[in-house]
């Protein structure tokens, strides 16, 4: 239980016991509560007063399955709000095994100075000059770092996009195979890392000084029971290992909620060509891997390795949100092009969602035609070359809308929506509008409620409550290190009980089921408080005008949640 405080201004590293106010916190809970307490809310997100925090989840580094999420937090240059963006891979488990609760990066290196933060297997940290890595893309950089520090190393890094402080810059992290293809994509936190002068974290995976487990026997038993619940759940045990998140392409199109051609239609023409079913078939034919283990401790294997037609590696892992942003929104119905764009984003260090939507806005504004594959690749090249238009695209959809004087820009608080149109899924309209993160696909996605027929996606009734409950649940899950995709096992009696038992056995607590939503509410309150101090009010919890006025085919509906209802979301 220690904080590693890294001051980039004077290049010092301090180690301290976790202070009392932060005890019992991990992941998003820790990043958000700490940022709210210590970062001046009106500071420049790319200035020295902002803090960039890396926090593994509460259970990361233990033997509990699927607990390898790391939360990255800061004030976002994209949204101006508090931000938590989380990623899988191996680094959360590596930090957990070293008993590191958080790395807090403060201050700012001088312009043009670059560093790597290395943490060895004993947990000793050092800041090393990294001028030689300047300008490197993430695949080449990660390969070089693994050569230098050994295969048993986790890397978390930025590419040129982060160095250039683009607002859609991601932070990439290495998967089980040492590829930098897992991303803390949202919110432009790669730009914050770039502003600090930090090119990469490298963490030895062989640490053996984790925080103690209070009751190892009970922990072991409950971990076993939880693993069974994850395997038994039809979503994490069957669908995800076969199709990955891309399995969502078909049902969301069938429901008329797949925002296509910059959110002008709810069904994409030819969506079958980019569906999860088609993708799995292609991957098998090309000897890729449709059921790849991407993250430490993972038993779901939702990741994939996508090869080109000659059987050569093209990308990993092709996900639903990327297929939507690079395919549905741009009208590109070709998985190979989408996979190439995905790889280029990972390599350059860009959020695939913000980048795809930025291209779609440019197309909608008339710069290029929807469906033009070479235009999309050319726009990526513009970003890579750092041309004026490339910088605008790399700053996300809102910047593109301003440039072209185009108002159909599907963002909330500057961040693009995800692959569910709010006009055809009214609960996700509530989440996009009210989440402290800006529009976000993992802050409170209600699609499961619709597919289980608990709620009608087109009616206003019940949507605010569904969004509220899901936002609370997600805020809590994001504290634990548990992967969202395994977390639906918590909704079964066996899975929920096993997980709670594991938490209590780890920390020697006697928490009841009510502790989970209480934690989520605490986190959301801190995030809302920060945003309020930063100048945000309820009036910012609104969708762009076109979602209220332009009916979305095929249902021809608009967002019907009133402002008053939106404002009741956080009545807790």
């Amino acid at each position: 239980m220690k904080f590693l405080k890294v001051n980039m201004s004077n290049k010092t590293i301090g180690v301290e016991e976790v202070p009392q106010p932060y005890l019992g916190l991990g992941g998003r809970g820790l990043t958000s509560i700490l940022i709210n307490a210590e970062v001046p809310a009106r500071c420049d997100p790319l200035g020295p007063e902002n803090k960039l925090i890396f926090a593994p989840g509460l259970l990361s580094g233990t033997n509990l399955v699927n607990t390898s999420r790391i939360s990255v937090g800061a004030k976002s240059p994209l949204t101006g709000t508090i931000k938590e963006s989380n990623a899988g891979g191996t680094i959360a488990a590596a930090l957990g095994r070293l008993g590191i609760t958080a790395i807090i990066v403060e201050g700012q290196a001088k312009e043009g100075e670059w560093f790597v933060l290395r943490i060895d297997e004993k947990g000793e940290a050092s800041l090393l000059p990294a001028q030689e890595y300047r300008g490197m893309r993430t695949y080449a950089l990660t390969e070089k770092l693994l050569q230098t520090y050994g295969d048993k190393t986790s890397v978390m890094c930025i590419g040129p996009a982060g160095e250039n402080r683009l607002k859609a810059a991601s932070i990439q992290t290495s998967d089980i195979d040492g590829r930098p293809c897992r991303a803390a994509g949202r919110g432009g936190l790669g730009a914050v890392m770039g502003s600090k002068g930090l090119k990469a974290l490298v963490v030895d995976q062989r640490g053996n000084s984790p925080d103690a487990v209070a009751d190892p026997e009970t922990f072991k038993e409950s971990a076993k029971a939880f693993a069974k619940a994850v395997k038994d759940h039809p979503f994490s045990g069957q669908l995800l290992p076969n199709l990955g998140t891309a399995g969502l392409v078909a049902p969301v199109n069938a429901m008329g909620a797949f925002p296509s051609y910059n959110a002008t239609k709810g069904v994409m023409d030819g969506w079958e060509k980019i569906s999860g079913e088609t993708m799995a078939q292609l991957i098998n034919e090309r000897r890729g891997n449709p059921s790849h283990m991407g993250c430490a401790q993972c038993i779901v294997h939702c990741s994939n390795v996508y090869n080109d037609k000659d059987g050569r590696y093209l990308t990993s892992s092709l996900e639903y949100e990327t297929i939507w942003a690079m395919g549905g929104m741009t009208g590109i119905d070709d998985l190979d092009t989408i996979a190439r764009l995905d790889f280029l984003c990972d390599d350059f260090g860009l959020d695939t969602m913000s980048t795809g939507v930025a291209m779609a806005v440019a197309m909608d504004a008339g710069y290029k035609s929807f469906g033009d594959r070479s235009a999309a690749l050319q726009m990526m090249e513009e970003i890579a070359q750092g041309t004026a238009l490339g910088m605008i695209l790399g700053n996300g959809p809102e910047a593109v809308g301003h440039h072209f004087n185009h108002s159909r820009v599907p963002v909330v608080k500057g961040q693009s929506i995800a692959a569910y149109d709010p006009r055809a899924m009214q609960g996700n309209a509530v989440t996009y509008a009210t989440s402290p993160m800006g529009a976000d696909h993992s802050a409170g996605n209600v699609i499961g409620e619709y597919m289980a027929q608990k709620l009608d996606p087109l009616k206003a009734e019940g949507q605010v409550e569904a969004s509220r409950n899901t936002q609370i649940a997600m805020a809590a899950v994001d504290c634990t290190g548990l992967c969202l995709l395994a977390s639906f096992a918590l909704t079964t009696p066996e899975g929920g009980m096993a997980f709670l038992q594991a938490m209590n056995a780890k920390f020697g607590t006697q928490l009841g089921p009510e502790a989970i939503p209480q934690l989520g509410i605490r986190v959301l309150r801190a995030e809302r408080e920060f945003n309020h101090k930063a100048g945000f009010t309820n009036k910012d919890d609104r969708l762009p005008e076109f979602f209220y006025k332009e009916p979305l085919p095929p249902h021809n509906t608009v967002v019907i949640i009133s402002d008053q209802e939106m404002d009741s979301t956080f009545n807790f």
């Binding site: 039809p234 979503f235 069957q238 669908l239 995800l240 076969n242 199709l243 990955g244 998140t245 399995g247 969502l248 078909a250 049902p251 069938a254 429901m255 008329g256 069904v267 569906s275 999860g276 079913e277 939702c302 996900e319 639903y320 949100e321 995800a418 569910y420 696909h441 993992s442 996605n445 209600v446 699609i447 499961g448 619709y450 597919m451 289980a452 027929q453 996606p457 969202l484 995709l485 639906f488 095929p554 249902h555």
Partner: protein
């Protein structure tokens, strides 16, 4: 009446139908509802609980329309 049926993901129809992912045309009794169709296909609710016709999710009691495409999914969550 006749309906066209297509299953997705890991929903696997029983021997009465073709393999998953293939669209099939089926003759069903007049007035048959969603629950009847799922039973006929041998698809349990936990396996394929979401039935979509004309862009809307139907309950088990939902009526089917002659000639319509019926899409069957398992319940999924956001990713």
């Amino acid at each position: 009446m006749k309906v066209r049926v297509k299953t997705y993901g890991t929903v696997t129809p029983g021997p009465a139908a073709a393999r998953a992912g293939q669209e099939i045309e089926m003759e069903i009794p007049e007035g048959a509802n969603v629950g009847d169709l799922l039973a006929h296909l041998g698809i349990s609710p936990s396996q394929g609980g979401t039935v979509v016709m004309n862009g809307r999710i139907l309950s088990k009691e939902g009526d089917l329309v002659d000639g319509a495409l019926v899409q069957i999914f398992q319940v999924m969550h956001g990713g």
